[in-house]
């Protein structure tokens, strides 16, 4: 066989890294509530992405939102939980969110109207903490979006990780599961938030 090193080195590295991650996170990786289990179950039932996009034109009111609030949107058949997408409100009708093509980006909150289910959350924290979280998220604008970015590291993000990290840096950890990834549902289930408003159903 020509150059066996070329063919073997990456399978070896893959196995090594996989085993280390599995051993050090065995409980959460094998937990039925863990992100890996949820995704695996969804994939087996044919759902692999963020759900089936719809133009629902929901009529939720965004009045009263404050910088640092969280917006969650859901499409049917999302593979990684109930909610498909998450964003951080930064004021003046704008949000910071993660997109595959745009990376971490600032957009108008209005596009959340296409979700058939939407939920607005208020983070129970001091104003200073929320503003610091917003500032941190702003610093990551244009950074890379990676759908399955691990919680560790600050080079690759997804829509939930950017918000989780922004608050975690301020000492507020939304994730009580110690999972490897942060799906949007983590925010909804966190004791650190209260629901401001919800609209629609799946």
């Amino acid at each position: 066989m020509k150059q066996p090193f070329n063919l073997c080195i990456f399978p070896f590295l893959t196995l090594l890294a996989f085993m280390f991650i599995l051993i050090t996170n065995y409980a959460v990786v094998t937990s039925p509530q863990g992100a890996a289990s949820i995704y695996l179950k969804s994939a087996l039932s044919g759902n692999i992405g963020y759900g089936n996009p719809q133009k629902a034109h929901n009529s939720i009111s965004f009045a009263g939102l404050e910088p640092g609030d969280i917006i969650l949107g859901a499409y049917p058949d999302c593979a990684y939980g109930y909610y498909s997408h998450a964003a951080l409100y930064i004021g003046a009708g704008e949000i910071i969110e993660g997109y595959a093509d745009l990376g971490i980006t600032v957009r108008s909150i209005e596009h959340f109207r296409e979700y058939p289910k939407i939920c607005l959350l208020r983070v129970e924290a001091d104003q200073a903490v929320k503003l610091a979280a917003v500032d941190y998220a702003r610093l990551q604008v244009n950074e890379l979006f990676y759908p399955v970015a691990f919680k560790s590291g600050e080079r690759a993000w997804n829509c939930s990780k950017i918000m989780w990290k922004a608050y975690q840096r301020q000492g507020l950890d939304f994730d009580n599961t110690r999972d490897l990834w942060v799906p949007p549902d983590v925010f909804y289930n966190s004791p650190h938030v209260t629901v401001i408003r919800e609209w629609g159903q799946l």
Partner: protein, 152 residues
Amino acid sequence: MTTLRLLWIHLFAWISVWLLSYWPGWEYLAAVLYLVVLSREAGTLRGVAWGKRLSAALLWQFPGWIMMLALLTGWNPCGICDYAIFGLIFWTTPVLPWLVLLPVGNLACPWHYYGMMAAVPLLGLWIWIFSGKINPPAVFKHSRFGSAKDCA
């Protein structure tokens, strides 16, 4: 055969880079190794007909070409365009550690987005160059920068 070997290397490099990113910084180890292994594999094509070299350089990135073309043209068979960007992100994972180093720029999308598209032909070019008669590592080794005599 070389195409299949390159595909095998690419697929496992993709998973390796992703898994190693669990320990921030270690993904660069796999990203460097990826380019080294590609160069070594391309070296096995040295001396073969240019048609075979060209087909290997183009074919092993076939999934990347499909996703890149879908994004550029809006070509959408079976809804592929809707997920093409996700596919391209995953497909270019072995080079993403380099793409995140690109400057922000002031285009419609961040530079790493265009970098992902450029990565597909550039990886083909990498194979083409390293399978050529001119062997870049050997050229470097015998240059004044890489010469052991000069360093002594």
